[in-house]
Subunit: 571 residues, 2 copies
């Protein structure tokens, strides 16, 4: 056997298409409900795996996803490749320099926030290994170390995303949390690599102590010499090879070699690509565009593929043990939140901030799931515990944002897109004057929301007479604040010929947003106005909006106009 | 067997890293010598394949790239996946609307430029099948049809790239050539799909006539209903899902399904992803950024991987038959150039333009190689013919550009980067006045090129007194034309405090290019000046240059500043 048959190739293409397609679709659905995308991706695997699809159509499912034979090997190999690339991206997000800059407080929270949950997990696993899902023939020390590590790793990508959503990422508090999480990540993965080494199921069969030595040496070398070398090589590649092709090929090649090396040492391949990602991401020479290229292709093709294959391997229904799920959830939250709160008190944070830090660090995510999968494959844990870990990882990620908001009494800044409505989009406004344009949009808004259009016009016009609301680049933002509203309403009109709104640049307005916001919350209007102004800062943006034929196209253009590296992308 | 062992995984990662790394490195090297990257990628495979590496280290080579067992299957499956994605990108580059817009001349050249080489190839294969490398037990009709198709397909990507390099892409002549090549591509691939169907080695075993019917139906459906549907769905995806993740996942998923369908029908999987690419690329809703994301990841990871694996399969030394290589080359060029010349005469082009069109259409490239590989795998052709086809494909691509230049007496516009030199880069210019800055750069240039620095200063200063050469945004372009120069010399100086160069925006110049160009060719100075002005049109560009610490970093920043969608990227 040296290649797939024509039928094998057909099956492989179908299987990959199904996995990526369903994972992306359910990942999007999860985001709609403000859940992490990985939740949807896992569910996709559960749906097309043995749990659901295989339950009703065992033959078709077995044909598409055989558990033996060449197609099984190929799918397993591709999902391994996917996870290696995913860890490369996860590593690239780690910015070690932040940790040094944050100093002592970050270190305190990083250290205690790692070791207290570690101890809690260790103790739990030693006291009641069977209850917590240890495999009958697994070594209790290895099991305990694994569970301890699983309790102590936070999910940097989830934390970063949550902080960005809350506009906290670039604040002192945000940077402190991120740097503690980075510390946590690097330590946690090193411990886990050592556990894998102790098990001796991977690699060339070195004795455990040697594996631990190699692991520490490799990590140290990658973060010093490796980092330095990459920083020196990147400008040379950018200067003398195709851009971004040169750097892209370099990054992927090194990640593969690094992964091969750690797999050979006896720890898992992902450890190598993760550390390479850290070394690569640390270089200021890595351009934003190259970073985005790798990040997006991996996050939207390889990561969904990988997480969906997890659902293929495990039957999430038969292995769902409510008691175990509850226990794991409690131990995980108690250890992490408790540990971080103690550290935060020691570092003299206010109770409000301490709580926010603890809730942020409590988020686990994709990393925890990967860790669990490796332990499952290595025969350390039972499927029931794996399912419990997955539920805990997703659950803690999902509650993290709301809990931080509650702790800080902070709400997410209002965004434009959730307040748009196809019924309040007028593609060709008929008005030719400022007053008529406001009236036309006000009438549409009041019909839709049972408001008094005369009152809106009167308020907006009064505001207009204080200072006209043309902001330049062809945009106008007339607005009114109404006491009967509890949520913002935005009506949009396009005018091909343009309407004078007294803009500072003298241009007529072609795109008019009528913003109606609650009287009691003045910040809503400012937040939405600021977002619109940012989006249309580039004078070319308007021309793309003027070409749209429908509300859907309008929304599509707005999304693609959103500044790419902003902390507040349109979502 | 259901997954790779730890050793198998290590080998897979090493093998993929070697293939991608070597292919990218040699691909870059090929580009340095103005050859297509695919040449370097193939050579990489030859070097690490049986031809070279396997010759000296057969055991290590056999361990890394086994010809049997799970690792062989996995590598074959991944290279199949790579080619499916590569054809998706190739299809996305096809713009059918251009063909309709070009009208009759394009149709004439497309039709005759496809069918005359087809007939020449058919005749040759029927008259001397053994000489041309037909497999002993292969059907002569199928062999003849294959060779005829191989002689008739042009390489759209190579042609487009050559025309861009010559600044001809957006001219009438360029669009005519591109549209004829597109016509050629679509017809050629349809014929080839039909040949594959006639062989009946793929798919579910439908009778040949049914396969042909399905193929035509699928192609017609994809280019009409499929295209229409995709054009409707794209804005919805952009409006309601993550951008660019939504469209990216959609494109890859559909490409996989479409590939699975054509593989099932009984033609090769790549036909499906190619047609899907055409349908996708035709939509004006596909944003440039999404296109670039797919294109770059596939072109710089999957394509090099695929082409390198070709070198693994075939021993290019033992199967190199000089007579056959010569024959194939002659038949290919005679048929294609002759056919296009006849068509161009019919369409009443001038002899000069006719020759340029013929030389452009004569370029084959990656597509021809893929075609040959499929025929080799299907047992239609011998390895010797495959090698001859590869040589023909690369040879015709390499001579295409120079021949067009010769036919049109047109030279490539001069670019800035090839004229830079680390010795003529002064990171901290000491001068504080315009005159001294010119002198400092002139002295550096004259030492390096044995020129008279006083003469340079005198000429540049005289020019400066006619009109100062500060062009704004902190850039100055003093220049002089010297009769002793046959090629341009550019000296670059950076000044942190800035030097007054009387720019229209009143800003001092921080980046000064002293351009010394041949007296007899006034266009050189204009071309290089125009490129510099384009690069620094964005006021933020300068700040990135000012942060560099070395010549290499300077070059790296210049490259990444070059406008991305320009016809004239820095190369």
């Amino acid at each position: 056997m040296h290649h797939l048959t024509a039928e094998g190739l057909t099956v492989m293409l179908l299987a990959l298409g199904l996995l990526i397609g369903c994972a992306r679709a359910l990942g999007e659905l999860a985001r709609r409900f403000h859940q992490p995308a990985v939740l949807g991706e896992l569910i996709a695997g559960v749906l097309i795996g043995p749990t659901v699809f295989g339950h009703f159509f065992p033959e078709t499912q077995g044909w598409l996803f055989p558990s033996e034979g060449p197609n099984a090997v190929v799918l397993d190999a591709i999902s391994n490749l996917a996870i290696v690339l995913f860890l490369l991206v996860a590593g690239m997000e780690v910015d070690l320099s932040i940790v040094w800059r944050q100093g002592r407080s970050a270190l305190k929270i990083g250290v205690l926030g790692t070791f207290i949950p570690f101890l809690v997990g260790l103790l739990g696993a030693m006291v009641m290994p069977q209850v917590l899902g240890q495999q009958a023939d697994a070594d209790n020390l290895i099991f305990s170390l694994f569970l301890a590590t699983a309790m102590s790793i936070s999910a940097l990508p989830v934390i970063a995303k949550t902080l960005m959503d809350l506009n906290l990422y670039r604040t002192d508090l945000g940077m402190l949390i991120v740097s503690a999480a980075i510390f946590n990540d690097v330590i946690g993965w090193t411990i886990f690599a050592i556990i894998l080494g102790m098990m001796g199921t991977h690699g060339a069969g070195f004795p455990p102590l040697l594996i631990i030595l190699f692991t520490l040496l490799f990590a140290a070398a990658m973060l010093t010499v490796g980092r330095w070398l990459i920083h020196r090589i990147l400008p040379v590649l950018q200067a003398y090879t195709h851009w971004p092709g040169g750097v892209l090929g370099f990054a992927v090649t090194l990640a593969l070699f690094s992964a091969a090396l750690t797999e050979y040492i006896g720890i898992h391949a992902i450890f190598g690509s993760f550390l390479l990602g850290v070394a690569l991401g640390a270089s200021s020479h890595l351009q934003e565009r190259t970073r985005a290229l790798i990040d997006e292709f991996v996050s939207f093709i390889f990561a969904p593929l990988f997480f969906a294959t997890i659902g293929l391997r495990v039957n999430f229904l038969t292995h769902f043990d409510p008691v175990l799920v509850f226990l794991i959830f409690i131990i995980a939250c108690a250890g992490k939140i408790g540990g971080v709160l103690i550290a935060a008190k020691w570092a003299a944070f206010t109770p409000k901030d301490s709580l926010a830090i603890a809730f942020a660090m409590n988020a686990r995510g994709a990393m925890e799931i990967i860790l669990g999968l490796l332990a499952l494959e290595a025969g350390i844990i039972k499927q029931d515990l794996f399912v419990a870990l997955v539920v805990m990882a997703i659950g803690t990620s999902a509650i993290s944002g709301p809990l931080i908001r509650w702790a800080l009494r902070r709400r997410q800044p209002k965004q434009l897109i959730p307040h748009l409505n196809p019924k309040l989009f007028i593609k060709d406004i008929t008005a030719t004057t400022r007053y008529d344009a406001i009236r036309e949009l006000a009438v549409a808004a009041s019909q839709q929301h049972q408001l008094d259009s005369d009152k809106i016009v009167q308020l907006a016009w009064a505001r207009e007479n204080v200072a006209a609301t043309g902001i330049g680049n062809g945009i106008a933002l007339p607005h009114a604040r109404l006491d009967e509203l509890s949520n913002a309403v935005v009506a949009v009109g396009l005018s091909e010929p343009g309407i004078g709104f007294d803009a500072p640049d003298g241009q007529p307005a072609h795109l008019i947003f009528l913003l109606l916001t609650p009287l009691k919350d003045p910040s809503v209007q400012l937040e939405i106005s600021a977002q619109i102004a940012r989006t249309f800062r580039d004078a070319n943006s308007l021309s793309r909006v003027l070409g749209v034929n429908s509300y859907t196209e309008f929304l599509a253009v707005l999304k693609t106009l959103a500044p790419q590296n902003s902390d507040q992308p349109f979502e």
